[in-house]
């Protein structure tokens, strides 16, 4: 429950504050968001698997974000930033889908 409230609260905070993303972070924020979404779905699945652990969730969330941003950063330095960020989004998208499928199986047995 607190997680849902936190999500809404964060969204409202973002709407109110309207912060500008620093130029250096601008290319990494969308990737970080997708990675965090992946971590969120993974956590939800773990919850339904009854293996949810807050420490694991925290570490997976942060490492997801950091690794995704790092990959894109590396890609930018190598000159393949656009392609690599596409690759990261594809991989994370697949994981989100598989997690969502697992959650669906848990809840609907289908």
């Amino acid at each position: 429950m607190i997680a849902v409230i936190g999500l809404v609260l964060g969204a409202i905070l973002g709407l109110i504050l309207e912060p500008t993303v620093p130029q250096a972070l601008a290319p990494y924020l969308p990737i970080a968001v997708v990675a965090a979404l992946d971590a969120l779905f993974g956590g939800l699945r773990a919850l339904l698997d009854r293996t949810f652990d807050d420490r694991v969730f925290l570490v997976s969330f942060l490492s997801n974000v950091v690794v995704a941003a790092l990959i894109v950063f590396l890609g930018d330095q190598l000159g393949v930033g656009t392609q690599l960020s596409t690759a990261v989004v594809v991989v994370l998208g697949i994981r989100i889908f598989s997690n969502a499928a697992a959650i669906r199986r848990h809840l609907f047995k289908a």
Binding site: G6, G10, T20, L40, G42, D54, F61
Partner: protein, 259 residues
């Protein structure tokens, strides 16, 4: 990572999976202030914040989300376009300057030509003229006044700087002549009789003393038993004009033609 949970998951009992899954979900939805809930709330809050920021960023400005090489490409394009437009503007500016100076030159030439035409028209007697000058009426109560006396007046007027001269209804030009006839005098082929009414445009302060000089033109008129009434006028109107034939033999020297 999120997927790590999958590896550690033990396979739940299939029979009560659905039921227990919903129960697990509803149980975790119940707000409890433990570490796990607070941490999850914090992280999801962070996520929500980031999502909203990114969406707004994406919507507000499309340039700030672009990569360096894309920005460089756009900048190159903009710079190139700017250079093209600058060159175009410079060309048009040069063209405009040419047109402006061209029309200026043309107008100046036209005005100069018109002014020259007026001057030469006055000097050659082609156009009417007006200005300060003198009026002189020569009468011959007793004897005829010979033509050389009148010619003397004309020469004196010319010497004194008269710019336009008229006798009676005749405009006097550079080629005018005065000769004696049986009835009077003939000026440029037209017979005139007394009184002879002269109009001359020029400085009255120069013309008057020149005519009245002792032993001068008016003295000669009086010697020939004539009378002369000389008066300066602020406005002398010379309305007589002379048609001038184009020169048949003389042509301008090309090298000294007007620029």
């Amino acid at each position: 990572m999120g997927g790590d949970h999958r590896d550690t998951t033990a396979e739940p009992e299939p029979a009560r999976t659905s039921f227990s899954a919903w129960r697990t979900l509803s149980r975790s939805l119940a707000p409890r202030l433990n570490r796990a809930q607070l941490l999850a709330g914090l992280l999801t809050g962070l996520l929500g914040f980031a999502i909203v920021v990114q969406v707004q960023q994406n919507r507000s400005s499309d340039l700030s989300g672009l990569r360096q090489d894309e920005l460089v490409r756009i900048l190159d394009e903009v710079t190139q376009r700017t250079e093209e437009l600058d060159a175009q503007a410079a060309d048009l500016r040069v063209q405009r300057t040419e047109l402006v100076t061209g029309s200026d030159t043309e107008r100046a030439a036209r005005e100069a030509a018109a002014a020259r035409a007026e001057e030469q028209g006055i000097l050659s007697g082609r156009v009417p003229a007006e200005g300060v000058g003198v009026e002189l009426v020569v009468r011959e109560p007793d004897e005829r006044i010979p033509s050389f006396v009148l010619l003397n007046i004309l020469e004196e007027l010319r010497n004194a700087g008269a710019e336009a001269i008229q006798i009676g209804d005749l405009r006097i030009t550079a080629s005018s002549y005065i000769v004696d006839t049986a009835d009077g005098v003939e000026v440029d082929g037209v017979s005139l009789t007394a009184p002879y009414r002269w109009l001359a445009i020029g400085d009255p302060d120069t013309l008057t003393p020149a005519l009245e000089m002792p032993g001068g033109a008016l003295a000669a008129v009086r010697n020939a038993t004539g009378t002369a009434d000389l008066s300066a006028a602020d406005l002398v109107e010379i309305t007589a004009v002379r048609q001038i034939a184009a020169p048949r033999f003389a042509t301008p020297v090309p090298a000294s033609g007007p620029g």
